[in-house]
Symmetry: C2
Subunit: 257 residues, 2 copies
Amino acid sequence: MTHLYHGWRSPLIAHLHCFIDLTESETAALASLETPSHLLGHGRLLQEEGQPFTAGYILNDGWAMRHKDLSDGRRQVLDFVLPGDFVGLEGTVVRSADHTVTALTDVRISRFAFDHLEHIIHDHPRLVTAMVWLAVRQRTVLAEHLLSLGRRSARERVAHVLLEIWRRLYVRGLGADHHCFHMPITQTVLADALGLSTVHINRCLSQLAKAGLVEKRRDTVSIIDLPGLKRAADFESGYLSEVPVAAGMSRTYESPR
Amino acid sequence: MTHLYHGWRSPLIAHLHCFIDLTESETAALASLETPSHLLGHGRLLQEEGQPFTAGYILNDGWAMRHKDLSDGRRQVLDFVLPGDFVGLEGTVVRSADHTVTALTDVRISRFAFDHLEHIIHDHPRLVTAMVWLAVRQRTVLAEHLLSLGRRSARERVAHVLLEIWRRLYVRGLGADHHCFHMPITQTVLADALGLSTVHINRCLSQLAKAGLVEKRRDTVSIIDLPGLKRAADFESGYLSEVPVAAGMSRTYESPR
DNA sequence: CGTCGGGTTGATTTACCTCAAGCAACGTGG
DNA sequence: CCACGTTGCTTGAGGTAAATCAACCCGACG
């Protein structure tokens, strides 16, 4: 809880730092994955369901979404990809993508070859654990998301997703300090994430605003009454805060010396 | 597609075989995880949300569910644990469980120490890849589940989950051959998995039966009209069939020689 | 100045829930 | 062997949360 934000420039490093103290050389190795970054316009795909993986990505800046679409146009957003997230890491064990990843804003990404990743891991075996941790945490978010869609009311869902995003940004050291953060997504996207209609999203949002829990200007959300919002969402703050696992790092996924 | 069922006694091995040809010694190593198996009555917990992990499990026989519960009693089943599934593998990188796992039937499980797993992986580094694959695949199932809850109608959800379970059993070589399989769960549990009420589950189920798509005797489901059911669910059979990734096995997660 | 993507608001419809009752199957103890 | 409670399935009636349909608004942008 005390070590959430460490002032790293890279959200990836900041995020991993929740879990593990990286050495200089490990940090440098990760940085080498992040270095050559280029731009992608919003709406562009990072990967597409059914298509084979060609490389891995790190999202450096901007937002993206993982989603699956049905043939008749219905869409489900599985998860938001925030700065510091990997995209397409599964490509290391699986041939083709099971979901699409689309840029929600103009984004800055680093593309890396799986071979390069392999070399890095070869030299810094502890990083495997770190990546597995990232994957496990992603699954945690998915599970919470599933709980929302299955058993929470629309109002609760909206309240919950705001808190989740706020928390996730905070952990990466991305200016979510003053209970206020940048959320560059349309209500349509939010609807597709929460399994609701845009109209209803809109109503829930204004309802929360009217209740004095949040405030929303275009692209920016401020949490006015944090405990109130948590109550409205019955938000378990625990699930996104991770105490560094001292023992874990020397276990299991570490390669033989 | 051709190598779905190989006749292994162990569902775990059968499942992994979709993805990777295990050597004799790798198979033996996995078997050593599975050997000391003991029984647990239905309703018993394998792990509990918030509690620290103490060991890992393999489910040898019977069904279990992963689930999260809200304080007011609402429950969301995230996933069914079928024979051959690991439980609590995340314990290797994370301190405490983010969801509960409960036995749905009397089950036979193997409990193993993380240390033991560590030794095995030390001796058989390829198995790390196999486990990562298992984790990735689990996430695939979760994602599909999320799509159901968010964007599919009740009828589609029910149809879909039947097909999914049928497929998952089939892949492990668990008598799901004649489009007919054992499904030892109550409609209440199914409701909690699909985010619906028991009453509505019941209605969808009988509707599907009346339409001549499935037949349900107690604990057993028969798929009468497979293509029809697939249409009712718009089921993408692709997402659960995995062609072995020849290249993948020598990549990335393999430890340095 | 028109167009366009996105947000807002109202009216109507509907898919699913809740409540409630009845029933079949099963175990348990007398 | 029969009363019994229990647990799960089934069916009906009425209610409601959220969808859909349909305007209208507004700022951005060419």
